[in-house]
Subunit: 336 residues, 2 copies
DNA sequence: ATGAAAGCGCTAACAG
DNA sequence: CTGTTAGCGCTTTCAT
C-alpha cells in the first residue's frame, strides 16, 4: 500500500496535523520539525493523495476541456495551448472530444462534474445551452473558447470572426477578384456566420455584389470542402477566388481545383481560416486568417483559473484579433 | 451546495447505505425502494461524488496519457483513439504533453499518481526507465505505446518498425532507386533504429550498399526535415529517393526538394512513416508506411483496462503490422 | 431488506 | 509551535 499521512506522522513521531501543515506550508512549524518531516516523507516516498485532499474541500486541480475533435489540428493546437498553461498553474486537463454530438457532450459534462473538476473550458460548439446554463448557475467555473452565449454572463475568449472574414474578403477584392465564393461550415454558429458576413461586407465595400450561388456548404473535413468546391467549379460562371471558413475546407478546395486541372493560384485564389500547421504544408502554401491559437488557450486558462481561485468576480469577454497571413494560394486576378 | 448522499437519504426516508446500494446496484434492495430512491435522486439532480467514492477504495476511472506533443498530428490521432476507447469504458483521460523533457515527464508522472489515476498509457519516448520501473513495481497499471522496455514485463502495443522500414526500402528499391537516403529522428530510440535497419536490410537484399553519407538526422519537425534534405541535395551524387522516419520529416524533404527546383516525384521519390492526415494533404500525396493508429490506441486501452480491472495477470506485447500506403510521392527511377 | 457505524486520507478549527 | 478532533461524501461489513 501507498504510505498515508499517518505513516509519515508515526515515522516522524509527530501528529498528522503537523505533517499536513508541512505539506501545505500552512500554520507555524519549527524549522527543525519541518525538515525532519520532509526527510521522512522523502524516505517513505510519500505522495499526498489529492483525492483525499479534494474531498476535504480543496480543489481538485483538474479542469475539463471539451472540443469537437482532438484529431482536428486546430483543436489539437488549442488543446496543447490549454494544457501548457494549465500545467504551469499545476492543473491537469481532462480531454473530451464530443464530435459535436449533444449526447456525448452531456455525458462528458456530467462525468466532469461528478469528478468535481474545478472548471471547464468549452471549445465545442454549444448546442444545449440548457445544460451549460445549469452548470453556470451551480457556479461551476466555465470559460468559453470561440463561442458565445449572448444571453449568459460567462468568461469567453474569442477572435473577431467578422474582422477575419472582412480581412479575407478585402484581400481577395484587392487582388481584383469579383467572383468570390464562400465555403461555410455545416453548423450554423455565430462564429461561422460572422466570418461569412465579414467577407461579404468587404466585398460590398469593394463594390461586389455577393452571389448566393457562390455560397456553398462544407463542414470540418477536407473531403467536404473538396465536394463543395467541385460543385462550384461546375457553374457556368465559376468563381476565381474562394474564402473557406476553415483550413480544412480550404485544402479541400485546393484539391478539387487541382483535380479539375486548374493551375493554382493562377486560376483560383484560396483563402482559409485558422492558420493551422496544415496551411504551411499544403501546396501552394495557404493564405489564411490566422487565429492566435496559443493566446486563445492561454487566456482561457487564465480566466478560468482566476475564477477558480476566486480572485475575480467579474466575467469578461476577451476578443482577440485575427491576422491575415499571406502565403502563395492567393494571387491577383488575371483577366485573360 | 451540491446534494450529497445524505440529502438523498433524508429526502427518501432511507439510510445512506440504501442509497449507496441503489447507486451501485449492490446488495439486495426491494424494487419499490429502489425506484423511490431513483426518483428522489433525479429530483435532487444528485450526482455521486467520484472523488469520495474513489477515496473509499474504488477506482478513479481515470487514466493518464503521456505523449511528446499533442500538437503533432500523429500523437493527436493517437490521443483521440485512446480517448474514444476510454470513453466507452467510462474512463476519462488526463493528457500530458512532455516534449520529451525528462523533468516534465517526472512531474506529470508524479501528479498522475497523486491523483490516483488507475493507470497510465505511455506514448512518450522513455528516458528515465528508472521512474517507470518504480511505478510498475508499485503495481500501477502501465501500457506502453510504440515503445519497448526490453528489461521489464509491461503491456505494450507497438508496430513492427523493422518491417515498416523494410517495406519502405523494398518499395524504393523495386522502383529502381539505388541512391536511397534515410532521414532519421534525433532521438536514438529503438523504434527509430529499427526503421532504419529495416530499410537498410531491404536495400541490401536488393543489392544496394547503404551509404553512410545518405543517412541524415532530422527530428520531429518539418523544418528539421527540410534542413537535412537540403544538405543531402548538395552532395555530389545526391539521392534519388529518400525514406523519412516520420511524415513530418518527409514533408520537410519534399519542401526542400521543391525549393531546389526539383520536380516531384520525378526527380526525387519520398516515403514517409506514420500515415497521418498530413500525408494526404501534402502535394504530391505522400507514399508512407501506415501505422494502424486507431488500433494502437484501442489495444493499449484494452490492455490497460483489463489490468486495472484485474481481469488479467499476464502481460503481453502486441505487435501490429504496418502497411505500405502508396500515393504519388514515389515513382520509378528515371535514368535520364 | 435495511440501517448503524467504521473507516478511506486529508484539512481545518480549536485547544493546549 | 504542536496535537486532538470533527468532518468531507461515500462504501462496506455486520447487525437487525
Amino acid at each position: 500500500m501507498k504510505p498515508t499521512i499517518y505513516d509519515v506522522a508515526q515515522a516522524a513521531g509527530v501528529s498528522i496535523a503537523t505533517v499536513s501543515k508541512v505539506i501545505n506550508g500552512t500554520g507555524r512549524i519549527s524549522d527543525k520539525t519541518r525538515k525532519h518531516v520532509l526527510i521522512i516523507m522523502d524516505q517513505l516516498k510519500y505522495q499526498p493523495s489529492m483525492v483525499a485532499s479534494a474531498l476535504t474541500g480543496k480543489s481538485t486541480f483538474t479542469i475539463g476541456l471539451t472540443l469537437p475533435d482532438l484529431a482536428n489540428p486546430f483543436f489539437a493546437e488549442i488543446a496543447r495551448a490549454v494544457e501548457d498553461r494549465c500545467h504551469e498553474f499545476g492543473f491537469n486537463v481532462f480531454i473530451c472530444s464530443t464530435d459535436n454530438d449533444p449526447d456525448k457532450e452531456v455525458k462528458y459534462f456530467s462525468l466532469l462534474t461528478q469528478k468535481r473538476v474545478d472548471g471547464i473550458i468549452v471549445a465545442t460548439r454549444i448546442q444545449n445551452d440548457q445544460f451549460l446554463k445549469k452548470l453556470i448557475q451551480q457556479n461551476v467555473p466555465i470559460a468559453l473558447i470561440t463561442n458565445e452565449m449572448p444571453t449568459l454572463a460567462v468568461d469567453t475568449v474569442m477572435v473577431d470572426d467578422f474582422l477575419g472574414g472582412y480581412q479575407a474578403g478585402s484581400h481577395l477584392a484587392e487582388l481584383g477578384h469579383r467572383r468570390i465564393a464562400i465555403l461555410k461550415e455545416d453548423t450554423d454558429t455565430k462564429s461561422n456566420r460572422e466570418r461569412i458576413h465579414g467577407c461579404q461586407q468587404a466585398m460590398i465595400a469593394a463594390g461586389i455584389e455577393p452571389d448566393e450561388r457562390l455560397l456553398s456548404i462544407g463542414g470540418f473535413t477536407v473531403q467536404s470542402g473538396k465536394e463543395a468546391m467541385t460543385e462550384l467549379l461546375k457553374l457556368d460562371n465559376p468563381p476565381t477566388a474562394v474564402f473557406a471558413c476553415n483550413d480544412l475546407l480550404a485544402i479541400g478546395a485546393i484539391q478539387a481545383a487541382r483535380e479539375q486541372g486548374l493551375q493554382l493560384p493562377a486560376d483560383l485564389s484560396v483563402v482559409g481560416f485558422d492558420n493551422t500547421i496544415l496551411a504551411t504544408i499544403i501546396d501552394p502554401p495557404l493564405t489564411t486568417i490566422g487565429q492566435p491559437i496559443q493566446e486563445i488557450g492561454r487566456q482561457a486558462v487564465e480566466l478560468l483559473v482566476q475564477e477558480i481561485k476566486g480572485e475575480k468576480t467579474l466575467k469578461q469577454r476577451v476578443v482577440l484579433l485575427p491576422e491575415l497571413v499571406i502565403r502563395s494560394s492567393s494571387l491577383a486576378y488575371q483577366n485573360v
